[in-house]
């Protein structure tokens, strides 16, 4: 599991790679939350392009970050999910809350 966060003048992107499951979601959560709280970006895009596996733990991760971004006055979006991960996201109805591109 790898995470690389870049902040470009308030529009940030967090590139994740590897697998998202319950075991490693906590670590991701801590790292992304620390960034949101300290950098206060207007927009945060979570790029799932490098994710090879995701179960419902990823849904919890995205919903939680979306909530935190809202509380901080910002907005979250999700980028590049593989077709199979898109199915997991769709099952949760997450596209009603978060924009997926």
């Amino acid at each position: 599991m790898k995470i690389d966060i870049k902040n470009d003048n308030g529009a940030a992107i967090a590139r994740l790679s590897g697998e998202i499951d319950h075991h490693n979601a906590k670590e991701l959560r801590i790292e992304i939350d620390r960034f949101i709280v300290t950098a206060q970006p207007r927009e945060l895009a979570i790029d799932l392009g490098g994710i090879t596996f995701m179960d419902s733990s990823g849904i919890g991760l995205i919903m939680g970050r979306s909530k935190l971004m809202k509380e901080c006055g910002g907005r979250l979006e999700v980028l590049n999910p593989q077709p199979y991960i898109r199915r997991v996201l769709r099952l949760a109805g997450i596209e009603r809350i978060v924009k997926i591109r």
Binding site: D21, F53, S56, L91
Partner: protein, 145 residues
């Protein structure tokens, strides 16, 4: 029913074993030549069931999780995830989408929905203090025959 091949193993309820369970299941299923999508579906369902055992079944005390994977005739894959943890008081309620008893861990309450949606059949047997057994089946397409 005739069992063409079977793998059965036991692992302690450590969260790192969620990934290990997926890896073992994937390796075993290669012989059945599933499509990428079928393999993803099964890996995800296994991950959900094992995570449930780790997070809920053995919430209070660690224990063992037994995972069985069978290759049955007609390209049917059988998966059983069994724990001897605290069990589920109300299985019907636990299976409702978005129901969770662990919101503090950001559990989305979608584990059973994922299993139901990605597999053909799902059965959950559970009783308080007796543990939980999840059995799932999925028939693979004729791809590779």
């Amino acid at each position: 029913m005739e069992i063409l091949n079977e793998i059965k193993f036991t692992m302690p309820s450590l969260s790192v074993n969620e990934g290990a369970a997926r890896a073992v299941v994937s390796s075993f299923l290669i012989q059945a030549d599933p499509t990428v999508e079928e393999l993803s579906d099964i890996r995800t369902a296994v991950s959900e069931a094992v995570t449930n055992a780790v997070v809920h079944g053995y919430r209070h005390k660690k224990g063992n999780i037994e995972l069985t994977v069978r290759l049955l005739p007609d390209r049917v894959i059988y998966i059983r995830v069994k724990d001897k943890g605290c069990g589920i008081e109300n299985v019907e309620q636990a299976m409702e989408p978005l129901f969770t008893t662990a919101p503090e861990e950001e559990r989305s309450g979608l584990g059973f929905s994922v299993m139901q949606s990605f597999m053909d059949k799902l059965k959950v047997k559970s009783a308080p203090d007796k543990g939980t057994t999840v059995t799932m089946r999925k028939r693979l397409s004729a791809h590779g025959d």
